[in-house]
Symmetry: C2
Subunit: 244 residues, 2 copies
């Protein structure tokens, strides 16, 4: 109960407060949530699709993906989650998730009982609103992905995701918007963007050859961020990371 990974709750609170104002009392309630920490190896599933859960997962460290799965077992990544992200806040109100979550790298995750989340949401309407708001932002990001995957050619899709991740990394101080660690394989990146790993590789090469960015050994280094953002038509407002 509130063992290691103790940095995650403050991080989560900070993210909540980027989007919602909370009183000191409400902040304390969030910080005193009980939790237990779980360490996951690469490729370990955290939640399998259709499973009933009674806790939500807060990433303390590492990289976790949310995915859809068909009856045949094929998976499609629909979201990447980094430290400070509550992956499945949704499950508080939808305990039988339609999606699954899996660790892309060795990760530490805090499991927080639904009962506790529900309790503080009921006690503090502002917290309920903050949770609801975070779920709404999540939907907005997914809507952007639908548009992104459906609308543009491979290079621009890759560009868009790398812009998005940069902003999110920066918001939790895991790097800057143009330099950060992103431990996905080209295969996984392609899976999320509806591309084959072969084509992801070729497009990364073309971006590299044009001096726009490099992506080697999990390190993203965007050399020409304004160009990348403009070609991807990237507009960060949908992330709701610096508004109030």
């Amino acid at each position: 109960v509130n063992q290691s990974g103790g940095h995650a709750l403050p991080l989560f609170l900070r993210r909540l407060m980027l989007r919602s104002a909370l009183t000191q009392q409400e902040q304390d309630a969030v910080l005193s949530l009980s939790s237990y920490s779980v360490k996951l190896m690469t490729r370990r599933d955290l939640v399998t699709p259709g499973e009933r859960v009674d806790y939500s997962c807060l990433v303390a460290d590492g990289l976790v993906a949310r995915f859809e799965q068909t009856a045949l077992g094929s998976r499609r990544i629909t979201a990447f989650h980094i430290a400070g992200d509550m992956i499945d806040l949704h499950s508080v109100v939808l305990p039988v998730a339609s999606w699954g979550t899996t660790a892309l790298t060795t990760s530490t995750v805090l499991k927080i009982p639904h009962a506790d989340l529900q309790e503080i949401a009921t006690r503090f309407p502002a917290i309920a609103r903050a949770f609801w708001r975070d779920t709404a932002v999540d939907a907005a990001v997914l809507a952007k992905w639908v548009a992104n995957v459906g609308q543009w050619e491979a290079r621009l899709r890759i560009a868009h995701v790398l812009c998005e991740m940069g902003r999110r990394m920066e918001a939790v101080r895991l790097g800057t918007r143009s330099q950060y660690r992103f431990s996905v394989t080209q295969e996984q990146l392609g899976n999320a963007l509806a591309l084959t790993s072969v084509h992801v590789n070729r497009m990364l090469r073309s971006l590299r050859e044009e001096g726009i960015l490099t992506f080697r050994r999990s390190e993203v280094d965007i050399r020409n961020l304004p160009l990348l953002e403009s070609m991807a038509n990237f507009d960060p407002t949908f992330l709701m990371l610096d508004t109030r």
Copy 2:
């Protein structure tokens, strides 16, 4: 205030209650929400992207689409909304929407002030939870779309959407899961599915020639629903329309 389109609130309440249990008192609170009804012609925008709104939109009649828009003006449909759908419940907690909404056919929409929605959500935690849950289901549907658009070839994407709309139409008694009115042009359907209208046309033809379904003059008639659902890998649970 609560003029015509008066059937919409009961429809909305029924949909909420498919997913959440509410006491009589809570039900009354939902039904007595104030609203004013707006009639929209085809291709009229209801909310433009980036606009600040102080009301949410409940579809009473017609077909409304939610879309993403780039700086250049190109649009991508990310959701279809039918009677009983609260299109942008999200905007209660995110008043500056990142998306827009537009009428695909002549439609009637009830605008419900955020202040009122917020008020009943604060007064009744169960209603707050029901709203939050609906937002979570919306995210789940979007996640399915990400996977659907990214994963399968054109025929199967079309099949999947037609299965989805059938279930939703049936849930609000606008038809059956295999026969319903869906007033989108092939252009709009393609826009939502990342396909050109030309290719949508060809795929609909191939589905028709194989006796699986017809889609003429806005009327969807699925002749072989089991086959369609299985080829699209359609699993209706993500819609949360018959669970509790």
